[in-house]
Symmetry: C2
Subunit: 422 residues, 2 copies
């Protein structure tokens, strides 16, 4: 019996046996199986033997769909929100029901996947990628920025980007540097898949749509603010970090306070976006839409730890940029400094950040730091290491003096002129 | 005029002019200058021109010394605390006054440097290293463990290790794995040097000595618990991380609560050590002194970020161990997995940790993780990435099955059997 999406199947592969519902796969070489716990697993088709246990155990094409949702009418009184999917746990909500290999999905698909989104906006949907977020790469950031631009040009009043949580902070940083936007660009994702009782996907999606309708025209990340379902925090894209492997409130703003929050009441009318008093942020319509999506991709991030083999730096020869994740105020072992000096002399931009994550590098204080500055290493202030990597990729492609740019605030990633000991 | 320690001097080097008091230097090639702000800077002697502004502006040999402190008598009623110096901001308090190149300093030197330590213990002092902590390396960890053993064997009731803050967490981890100890081993340091009004060195030293007299026979880190001078937190050596570049309360326990605290009142009698209710910890005298100071040094930590060049892994061929700092639950780009599989096949122990820092890796959940497990990558649970590197160095030298050891708790670094979503 040839297995089809929706069948409950038993799959044997590499001495493991899994049972679950077969999902549509975007890739001919793999089977996608939804396990009972709710997680999707991928199995190499070549190595697997598949037995169908129950035909059509689940209608993966249209379950949860309201009978009358087949035609969603456009509501002139509502703003239009574009949903862009890149894959990940939250997107799988949409994707497995639609097949997800098509480049576009429509409002009907969106409401089938998350009925709670009904009545909040008119929706447009598109798929830019369908990947695990650990496979995110600079090329897709460029595609994503182009897709956002097209959606805004097509009249979207806000954009929601559905993204896996592993690398969301890197992608949000990339779009922060690439885009001048007159509307909100809101990344959201899910730490628990839709089939788990504790899933955060519906609340995160609803709050992200509300944030996309708000007055804050910045690139933001919208994820649970606490382990409860009380509110989502709105983080600036360049300041956010996944600080926990699995908690629903894993995402935190580092080195600042979040921009705002979306309160999530039991009554849908309780859902309200607010911004932190005193926070300066770009307002809707302030900026004209503009895009600078080019990146120089050969930029590496290297973390220094005690006992590190200097050979770890050998592959950096000829790179356009290197970001060091140093210790404390921005240090590495003294023996490594001449290597960084060679890189600088050969034309590599070398940037210092701190593995402390909070605070800012200041290499004027101690010997090692002064030697690093003498070697031509540039300080990234309080920019997060991952954000600094993305920024350097962008700066090398888009500004005349990347060294200078790394010391200035371009998209909220760097607090200028603060003291190292505050 | 030949400059001598204690002179106020003006130094010109590399187009920079500094003024300050010349300090004793442990190194013939460098001058050490204490700037007015309190920081020490090192200057290459060969490149510098030095002008003496004021002879003996400061008696660096014995200022702050009580006239009657020249002979400190042993008090039978007090415990004996060994102070071991490795360099760093706090040690400079002792070092610059004593010259610091000698391998031993005595109670008199200690009380000259930090008079507030008087009456709290009998002191023994020794210098194991005099380095910037970014230059810390595995060899010195071994020396440090040997020094601690000798001090305990010589009758110390507790040991305080003075250490630079940049790499303190790595050294504290190393000693945690190397030592079974019947007495407290307390690391302390200083985020602000002694000459700054906001210096934390006296309070940290006093609290560390009190912790060294306590009932908790573990390797701990004792540093400011808040930005105020109200208490020091006591962190388990394998769980602590410098989470801020410059704040006095930069050190935090990650993934757990601190072991305890040392309250620091205005009255010296208010200084009190307490441990968190319900915390299990090793008590004074529980363990016999034992030491396993060997390390396998060719263990590397590699941080994965999007866009990473796979060539970053080339230098790992033939290494004994590799710790990956992956994303989320413990992931890397799918394309890198075969490289890690090759390493495992060639005999390298490859361990997964998470750059989230909080939470634990769990590679059973998603495809990428399962592929990594299939490739032979070992999970380090909720062990911090830096701690995992040190642990792997130790495990490869001291246990038969390092793979197995990385999944077990050896020194409080890993919570066994917790679920990934708690």
């Amino acid at each position: 019996m040839t297995p089809s999406p929706g069948d409950r199947v038993r799959v044997e592969h590499a001495a493991v046996t899994d049972e679950g519902v077969l999902m549509p796969s975007s890739d001919e070489d793999h089977l996608v199986l939804k396990l009972e716990g709710g997680y999707n697993v991928g199995v190499d088709r070549a190595d697997a033997s598949v037995e169908v246990l129950e035909r059509g155990a689940r209608e993966v094409g249209d379950d949860d769909a309201d009978g009358d949702a087949s035609a969603v009418s456009f509501d002139d009184d509502l703003p239009t929100v574009a949903l862009i999917s890149t894959g990940g746990t939250i997107a799988s909500t949409v994707d497995y029901r639609t097949g997800a290999v098509t480049a576009r999905f429509d409002a009907e698909d969106v409401l089938r996947a998350v009925p709670d989104l009904a009545g909040r906006a008119n929706y447009r949907g598109r798929v830019v990628a369908n990947i695990l977020s650990e496979n995110m790469n600079p090329e897709i950031w460029t595609d994503l920025a182009e897709a956002v631009r097209e959606e805004v040009e097509a009249g979207a009043d806000g954009v929601v980007v559905m993204h896996g949580t592993d690398t969301m902070q890197y992608s949000a940083s990339a779009l922060s540097f690439m885009l001048d936007t007159p509307v909100p660009i809101v990344f959201t994702g899910s730490q628990r898949s839709a089939d788990r009782p504790s899933s955060d996907n519906v609340m995160n999606a609803v709050c992200a749509v509300e944030a996309a309708k708000s007055d804050c025209a910045e690139v933001m990340v919208c994820m649970h603010g606490t382990p409860s379902d009380d509110y989502c925090a709105l983080h600036r894209g360049t300041r956010v970090r996944k600080n926990h492997t699995s908690r629903r409130d894993a995402f935190q703003t580092v080195g600042a306070e979040p921009l705002g929050r979306v309160d999530y009441g039991t009554d849908e009318d309780d859902i309200a976006v607010s911004f932190r008093e005193g926070k300066t942020y770009a307002r809707r319509g302030d900026a004209d839409l503009d895009i600078a999506p080019d990146l120089v991709e050969d930029v590496e991030l290297v973390k220094f730890t005690p006992g590190m083999d200097p050979a770890a730096l050998d592959y950096l020869d000829g790179k356009s940029g290197v970001v060091i994740e140093g210790t404390g105020l921005g240090h590495v072992h003294t023996d490594l400094i001449p290597r960084f000096e060679e890189l600088v002399d050969d034309g590599t931009t070398v940037v210092m950040t701190s593995q402390c994550l909070e605070g800012r590098v200041c290499d004027r204080v101690y010997d090692t730091g002064r030697d690093l500055l003498d070697a031509g290493v540039v300080e990234a202030g309080d920019t997060l290491p991952g954000t600094a990597k993305v920024k350097l990729m962008w700066a090398l492609a888009n500004v005349a003096d990347a060294d200078d740019a790394m010391g200035r605030d371009l998209a909220g990633e760097l607090t200028e002129e603060s003291k190292p000991w505050t």
